[in-house]
């Protein structure tokens, strides 16, 4: 029982990180139709900025986290200006490759700025744990899940209740019609990248105390985030979150009860199976091809 609870909680906590990364993709996708392949590297950058704020600026961890997330919003906007704005109207593939290139540049630049030595980002909660059904749950896991839950609620409100959300929905449904209705496509694109940047920064600062600040931090989370976004159907926030949690928990459970050495296979195997059976994802609506 305690083993089951421990695996479940680890699954939910890594799943939450995947969810944060996946929500970044989805936000950008809705506004622009592009998948941002630099999303993982943005998370990495966020963790480095927080580390820098703690170690060089000597800020308190909470302040450093907030600063990093704020800066990441700006980085997101900057990324949009560099990779997406100049290529508006071009094929989506070209934009995707531009984001990939930007991600490579971020990673390489970080290696030069902070060296490739792994670092530790302190968590305000340390590595203490709380007992639950005989298992020990790290406070950091609870923090990750709680913050993710709050962010998800905030995003749902943002998407459903605000002008921004309405415009985003209009864009996702029909770009041309939205433009004719007066939606500022460029501004929406910038804002969505900014939000995705902040989400990635948040994922970075929450994840780094668990796994250390290193240049690969975001990459693995990004791949799993993709799987989560696909599983959830790429549109609905709730679907994506459920997809991410499923990926996280399934990964742990299959590793715990089937074959641990194939652990990295599970998220992708699950995703491919879902695509085979339900090509629109578990919670996606019917795909309508449009030209």
């Amino acid at each position: 029982m305690s083993r089951f609870v421990a695996l479940l909680s680890a699954g939910i906590s890594t799943g939450s990180i995947y969810a944060l990364v996946a929500l970044g993709f989805v936000t950008i996708y809705k506004a622009t139709g592009v998948i941002n392949f630099a999303q993982g590297d943005l998370a990495t950058l966020g963790s480095y900025l927080a580390f820098w704020a703690v170690s060089s600026l000597e800020l308190a961890t909470g302040v450093a986290y907030a600063l990093a997330i704020g800066l990441m919003f700006l980085v997101g906007v900057g990324l949009e200006r560099i990779t997406t704005a100049p290529l508006r109207g071009r094929s989506v593939h070209v934009v995707v490759i531009a984001t990939l290139g930007a991600g490579m540049a971020i990673r390489a630049g970080l290696g030069i700025w902070q060296s490739s030595r792994p670092k530790r980002l302190p968590s305000p909660l340390g590595i203490r744990t709380v007992g639950l059904f005989g298992a020990r749950i790290p406070y950091q896991s609870i923090l990750i899940v709680a913050v993710t839950a709050m962010v998800v609620v905030a995003l749902i409100l943002l998407f459903e209740r605000t002008q921004f959300g309405r415009q985003l929905r209009a864009l996702a449904t029909d770009t041309e019609a939205a433009r004719l209705q007066g939606v500022m496509v460029g501004r929406m694109s910038m804002l969505s990248f900014g939000i995705a940047g902040a989400l990635a920064g948040l994922a970075g600062v929450l994840f780094a105390p668990v796994v250390s600040v290193n240049l690969n931090l975001g990459f693995v989370a990004m791949l799993n985030g993709f799987a989560a976004a696909i599983l959830g159907g790429f549109g609905r926030i709730g679907g994506v979150v459920v997809g991410a949690l499923m990926i996280g928990v399934f990964e742990q459970m299959a590793a715990g009860y089937i074959a641990p050495q194939l652990r990295e296979v599970y998220p992708f195997a699950l995703m491919i199976l879902v695509i085979a059976v339900r090509p629109q994802g578990l919670f996606g609506s019917e795909i309508r091809a449009r030209h």
Partner: protein
């Protein structure tokens, strides 16, 4: 909540030139022969082992990229699985050539890759665009772990020595110089196959399917079959390239077939240009050669490469072969 729509966006650069009737494409074969013959003269002047080995690596990747031109350029399938198929080709080759020699190994590599590709294409046949892209990314991750873990097929950690040089009638292509010629021959074979495909109705059907699937389907184009055929053919070419890569390198490890290679193959085709298979060759040259040329920048090499990459994409969104359209626009204006 709005309905999610996955919109297959067509690489518009690929649209240009798609309407050329087959009769005007007659000279492609001659071009292939001329270019490759010209390339063959290079080592007579510059025959250093380093230069040749880089050229050989370029050719292996170029062949894979030409395969990817079929998958992505012609039929618009957004796939990251090419590196996995390249790897499957390499490992199958290593396994089969070990006991049965080079040629059996090569054939086995192509067949195995084609079968896996076909099975995968069938499995995700209903996935569209980004869903398909991310499924292929997943396949690529799974393949890596299989190379590492299936040690009876590969070796511990997936690290396998591949001592099998190509042999024709007792003549061994055992030096970099000889391998260069062999790979050049393989490049010609690949290009001829692609030229033949481009002359067949398959090209027209692929383009129709890529650009206007509903229209194509209503006109009786067997969309699903065309998609399978192009994906399988392109991936089998990747397997072919992987086998050649394994033979040329003499040693393979899973690290060579990671997502990084999948991304690089993408870069090759996008940077080179999607209009024709030459884009893939030029792109491969760019992606292999540029980092080599940047060696003296040491730690800064990766960063400079990434920045140059982004700059190239921003300046030439249609790829390097897109330069000629740009040039034509300029000259026309003048």
């Amino acid at each position: 909540m709005p309905a999610t729509e996955i919109v297959p966006t067509t690489p518009e650069s690929a649209r240009s030139g798609s309407a050329v009737p087959p009769a005007h494409r007659r000279h492609q074969l001659r071009t292939v022969v001329l270019v490759v013959a010209a390339l063959g003269l290079i080592p007579l002047r510059y025959g250093g082992d380093y230069d040749l080995s880089i050229a050989n690596l370029t050719i292996s990747y170029a062949i894979a990229a030409i395969g990817f031109y079929l998958v992505f350029g012609l039929s618009g399938q957004f796939a990251f699985s090419h590196a996995a198929f390249f790897g499957i080709g390499a490992y199958t080759f290593a396994w089969a050539a070990h006991s049965r020699g080079f040629w059996i190994g090569l054939v086995a590599a192509v067949i195995a890759t084609a079968l896996v590709a076909l099975a995968f294409a069938w499995l995700v046949r209903r996935a569209s665009h980004f869903y398909f892209a991310i499924a292929t990314l997943g396949l690529s991750e799974i393949a890596l772990i299989i190379f590492r873990e299936w040690t009876s097929f590969t070796a511990i950690g997936g690290e396998v020595a591949v001592p099998n040089d190509p042999t024709v009638d007792g003549f061994r292509f055992d030096s970099e110089f000889r391998m260069f010629w062999f790979l050049l021959g393989a490049l010609v074979v690949t290009m001829v196959i692609v030229v033949l495909i481009e002359r067949s109705p398959l090209r027209r059907e692929s383009i129709a399917m890529r650009d206007h699937p509903e229209v194509a389907a209503s006109l009786g184009v067997p969309i699903q079959r065309v998609r399978f055929v192009m994906f399988t053919l392109g991936s089998a070419i990747a397997g072919f390239a992987g086998a050649l890569f394994a033979s040329d390198q003499g040693f393979i490890s899973p690290t060579s077939f990671g997502v990084g290679l999948g991304i690089n193959i993408f870069l090759m085709v996008i940077l080179g240009g999607l209009t024709n298979m030459w884009g893939a060759v030029i792109g491969a040259t760019f992606v292999v050669l540029l980092p080599e040329r940047l060696r003296s920048f040491a730690e800064y090499r990766e960063l400079i490469f990434a920045l140059l990459l982004v700059a190239t994409i921003l300046a030439l969104p249609e790829g390097i072969t897109g330069l000629r359209q740009a040039w034509r626009r300029i000259t026309r204006r003048a």
